[in-house]
Amino acid sequence: MIKKTVADVSTALKGVEDGMTIMLGGFGLCGIPENAISELVRLGVKDLTCISNNAGVDDFGLGLLLQKRQINKMISSYVGENEEFERQMLSGELEVELTPQGTLAEKCRAAQAGFPAFYTPAGYGTEVSMGKETREFNGKMYVLEEAFKADFSLVKAWKGDEAGNLIFKGTARNFNPSMCGAAKITVAEVEELVPAGELDPNEIHIPGIFVSRIFQGKDYEKRIEQRTVRKRN
């Protein structure tokens, strides 16, 4: 068994530098690598390009990095919950590349799985396809999209073992699995880190081969963006 455990978030993020491209898992605030984001804030690295479906909220998630102006460019599909983001974007301080959500997921998966590019129908005929190759297959038009290239991938899982195997919970799974192994170095933080052999090999969502470093996360806030409930009868 190849051991991937590191002592803490600082060790896990060793090598992160100004100007790097970083993938971050999560959908909204669900399943985001909270510990790694805090460490990026602490490190103060800047001029980052961040690939993440959303941009957090003003005071949590990637919003924390936006506040400190650590992000130069965001590649996301939806950024509607963040006023500071909108301000920086409309003022031109922040470069934003909006990408259809399924395309974003597949650009990660392509990087993980060694596909240089793929054809998707999403965005055909829209400004998203401007400057990109388009092509017809079986009477339908597709856009050629390229795999992402990133330095670090920061993901969050529910359980993980020493070998780097990961299991996600509920919809906190989202982009995390496809980002594993999609960057030069993949760092996974988990709510529960267990010895190798404790996870059922059949139930593993992402094999450890896609994970470079894994650490036991702490103090998860798991903030809820839209607390919707119903009354008991």
Partner: protein, 217 residues
Amino acid sequence: MLDKNGIAKRIAKEVKDGYYVNLGIGIPTLVANFVRDDISVEFQSENGVLGMGPFPFEGEEDADIINAGKQTITTLPGASFFDSALSFGMIRGQHVDLTILGAMEVAENGDIANWKIPGKMVKGMGGAMDLVASAENIIVAMMHTNRAGESKLLKRCTLPLTGVQCVKKIVTNLAVLEVTPEGFKLLERAPGVSVEDIKQATEGSLIVEGNIPEMQL
């Protein structure tokens, strides 16, 4: 004239037994409340869940279980969780039978715009571009006119497009319309709304053939 719940109620009639359905944010989300109890339907949310149930009871919210609108949800028996790549595989692979979403503008050729107002509002397309480019069956749920009273059913969209020639049906506060090669074909009027009212509120070509029935809700 319908309110948002009325639009949702009318659209719910388009949901057939055995359908997997993706509901967008806003009015589409309300559709789930009006689907008949005697048919089997599963709701997909593109962030990675199939088989969504109602909102959780107070105190039972789980931050790890949300829909694409970031709302806390529950799941029903038979539900499953999956990653974003597989989720859009469902959508792109046309396994989802019906997509219901909102729009800022729809053109008479089926083009739709709903993600950006240049220089003003740029929230992003989220999964909408994947959904409209992939789905066989797309229904738009929206008000017939914007706040300034201008038609949202146009000859051509003026805003940046989300997808081209993809909308099949539109349900507004005034009418049910089908997108045809000749333009918006009026199928039904909302209660108390005349064909003339609809003509006034529609900038794109409106096709009115024969007697237009009032919606049955």
